[in-house]
């Protein structure tokens, strides 16, 4: 057994403060300082201190004029695991065969220097020790018997020991020992720094992993309720809180409502609890300040704070409120509660904030998803609306000897505002009503109006003798049912298929084109008239022409003439007329298709901004 050598006197510590013996020569001094400097630089810069210990030890031993040294460090986990301290050989330089690192008899068991550490005695800058390890080790010791030991410590805590070995005490010069203490304290600092760094790294890694798995879980929930109930569970677990709650803005403005909770005795979600979103309470304040709010012990704070019975009953004493921020905008708050006072650690606060960002994003994503689902439902509604609309349009073309009828309808969106109709009118001679109309206004409102408008005109057509009266009555009926937000342009004509007489009236609709075979030109069927749906009474007129064999009638909505190309030019009436003229001689269907094709080619990639409706009527030439 070796022992501390009080009888020989632990040599008075020298150069504890790092000052050097004045007996050193200048050269020695320079070398001494520069080596020390290099060692400390290497130690300071190293993140993996363990890795540089070998090198530092080697330099130190050489500088001390010795050959052998080693460093033992306390195994930080041993105490927890084995109930006693254990030491690890952390670095070694030029060990004699007897102390080879892989020799269990050399490194197993204790040593006098370890006992010194355990006894808390190596408080001196350095200690001289008869090495029990060397003594009991078998094999060549290269004459080594003693070692000088500098404690490696962080504050009061012993981390380990730096040992340099020699055959006798005389081998340690005062300068060498001063160097030893210096390097020992440098190493202690570096080791502690590395340990802290490792702890931090470990914490960060755990934190990141928790965050990662949290965000993975959060993002996998698309349903908002599902998401937030998992979120409060996760957060409560990860931060070992007694209770956790998520509050989101309530429908009632100025309030936050409990949306998900865990760990509460009485579930505030079920009780539909709300808190005012103002400075009277933690969640409200965090929402306003957009900053984390920590109250480790509520009893140390103003007891007049907002604290309703149902909250008091929970027995919370500490809480943390984290605003969930999305682009700096608070979308809700997370409330963590403790029933025992506890201040969160630094890492926990940071984790909370990071997690809040993740949670805000997940909530937003879930919201967007719900909106998307709603949109899909709306789209389904619109598709249904489209089907209803299409069902309102005539399914077949009328047939009358000597006449051809063709029609085309294309909504710019799912539902449109245009409509057309062929109406078989009662009585003789055989009369056919034709209507084309455009509801001014877009979207669902226009589509609903279109549905009503087409029914109204159809009804009015059956009840009235002439087009003017039909449209006038339709106007009154339209106004009975709606305000003046929308209006309709409509052209209505009654065709006597025997005589070819066309009686027509217009309520602000673009004049249809009448292509006459005798002139080869288009004529506008222009009638003054105000759109339907503005005035209770409208001044409309009846006009009349006779359609001759070989003539065409083209009824259209402004979606045709206002079809736009990439240069923002309109298809306009001239192109429409030219297309009709160029296709004169064809069937009604052929002319219609030619127009649709011309418009399509003209517009190119530009999507139509308005519904397109076309009706082509042809009185077949004699003998066809």
């Amino acid at each position: 057994m070796s022992k501390h050598l009080p009888e020989m006197g632990v040599l008075a510590p020298i150069a504890v403060d790092g000052t050097l013996d004045p007996s050193l020569s200048t050269n020695d001094l320079v070398e001494h300082l520069s080596t020390l400097n290099q060692i400390s630089q290497a130690l300071n810069q190293a993140i993996d201190v363990q890795g540089v210990l070998d090198d530092a030890l080697g330099r130190l031993v050489k500088l001390m004029g010795l050959e052998t040294g080693w460093i033992i460090l306390k195994d930080p986990q041993a105490e927890e695991r084995f109930g006693e301290s254990r030491y690890l050989l952390a670095a070694h330089h030029n060990l004699p065969p007897a102390l080879a690192p892989d020799k269990p008899d050399a490194w197993g068991g204790s040593c006098a220097c370890q006992e010194l550490i355990e006894a808390g005695r190596p408080t001196k800058a350095y200690n001289e020790v008869y090495c029990s390890r060397l003594k009991r080790a078998r094999g060549s010791r290269r004459g080594l018997v003693v070692h000088a030991s500098a404690p490696l410590r962080s504050g009061d805590q012993m981390l380990g020991m730096l040992n340099v070995a020699a055959p006798d005490w005389e081998s340690f010069s005062p300068q060498a020992l001063s160097l030893l203490t210096n390097v020992g304290s440098q190493m202690g600092i570096a080791l502690e720094r590395a340990r802290l760094f490792d702890v931090l790294k470990q914490q960060r890694w755990q934190e990141q992993e928790a965050l990662l798995s949290l965000s993975r879980r959060l993002l996998s929930h698309l349903d908002l309720d599902d998401l937030i109930s998992h979120m409060v569970e996760d957060v409560r677990y990860l931060l070992s809180a007694d209770a956790c709650a998520l509050l989101l803005p309530a429908e009632e403005p100025g309030f936050l409502e409990f949306s998900a909770t865990t760990g509460w005795h009485r579930d505030p979600v079920q009780d539909k609890r709300k808190v005012p979103a103002d400075g009277s309470n933690g969640p409200g304040r965090a929402m306003q300040s957009r900053d984390l709010l920590l109250v480790p012990d509520i009893r140390e704070h103003d007891t007049r704070a907002w604290m309703p019975d149902w909250l008091q009953a929970e027995g919370f004493v500490g809480y943390a409120v984290v605003p969930l921020l999305l682009d700096g905008r608070p979308v809700g708050v997370l409330l963590l509660n403790q029933r025992e006072p506890r201040s969160p650690r630094d890492g926990e606060v940071r984790f909370l904030q990071l997690m809040a960002g993740q949670a805000a994003m997940a909530i937003e994503k879930s919201r967007l998803h719900e909106e998307e689902v709603k949109m899909q439902a709306l789209e389904k509604d619109l598709a249904l609306g489209q089907q209803i609309q299409l069902s309102l349009l005539p399914k077949s073309r009328p047939s009358a000897p000597g006449w051809e009828f063709a029609a085309f309808y294309q909504a710019a969106r799912e539902v449109g505002g245009d409509f057309y109709d062929f109406i078989e009118l009662p009585g003789e001679p055989r009369r056919l009503g034709m209507v084309i109309a455009d509801v001014v206004g877009k979207g669902v409102a226009a589509a609903l109006f279109m549905a009503r408008g087409s029914t109204i005109i159809h009804t009015a057509a059956l009840a009235n003798q002439n087009p003017r009266d039909t449209l006038s009555q339709a106007n009154s009926l339209i106004l009975q049912h709606q305000n003046s937000e929308l209006f309709v342009t409509a052209f209505y004509a009654v065709l006597d298929t025997n005589s070819g007489v066309l009686e027509y009236s217009s309520a602000g609709h673009n004049p249809p084109l009448w292509h006459r075979s005798d002139t080869g030109q288009c004529h506008e069927l222009r009638v003054p008239g105000i759109v339907l749906g503005i005035f209770q009474q409208v001044a409309l007129e009846n006009h009349q022409v006779t359609i001759a064999p070989g003539d065409y009638l083209v009824l259209y909505t402004d979606g045709v003439t206002e079809a736009m190309n990439a240069d923002r030019a309109f298809f306009d009436q001239k192109r429409l007329e030219a297309t009709i003229a160029a296709n004169a001689g064809g069937t009604a269907q052929q002319v219609l298709e030619a127009i649709v094709e011309r418009v399509r080619v003209f517009a190119g990639d530009i999507p139509p901004s308005d519904d397109i409706t076309l009706m082509v009527v042809r009185r077949c030439p004699e003998g066809v």
Binding site: D438, V440, G441, K442, S484, E485, L486, F487, T489, A507, G508, H509, N510, P511, R526, P528, G529, I530, V531, I534, F535, Q536, Q537, V538, A539, D558, E562, S609, D610
Partner: protein
């Protein structure tokens, strides 16, 4: 579309909107908002200067009609009944008292006449006369 707002003092104060560009489904909201804002600020007479209006779509017409209703419904003393309006239109004498138009291009004029808007909105080609008509 840009709207230049001017304030003229005729017999009564008249606000002039000089509309530059297109009045369509893409710009009608802006036009309506500006008109509503001006109305809130006290505007009761509006002259739409259409000299620089390049295109008027049905959505634009709807917007003009809304402004017509705004000024007609809310202006005291202007409340002519629809019957009276109709009689006036038939007789060619009815014109809106508080909304008037100035110098549309021939294309825009075509749209106004096709839809019958020229039957209830007075259209001027002389700015001084337009202002004096309020």
């Amino acid at each position: 579309m840009e709207i230049l707002v001017l304030h003229e003092q005729a017999r009564v104060p008249v606000t002039v909107f000089q509309i530059k560009g297109e009045l369509t489904a893409e710009t009608d909201v802006q036009f309506l908002e500006q008109a509503e804002e001006a109305y809130q600020a006290g505007m009761r007479n509006l002259l739409l200067d259409l000299t620089k209006l390049t295109f008027l779509s049905s959505a634009g017409l709807r917007a003009i009609h809304k402004v017509f209703m705004l000024l007609r419904e809310k202006s005291p003393g202007s409340g002519s009944s629809d019957d009276a309006v109709l009689d006036g239109i038939r007789a060619g004498t009815y014109r809106s008292g508080h909304l008037k138009l100035f110098k549309p291009s021939s294309d825009v004029m075509q749209v106004l006449s096709t839809t019958g808007f020229d039957m209830f909105l007075k259209i001027y080609t002389d700015r001084k006369k337009a202002l004096a008509s309020f």
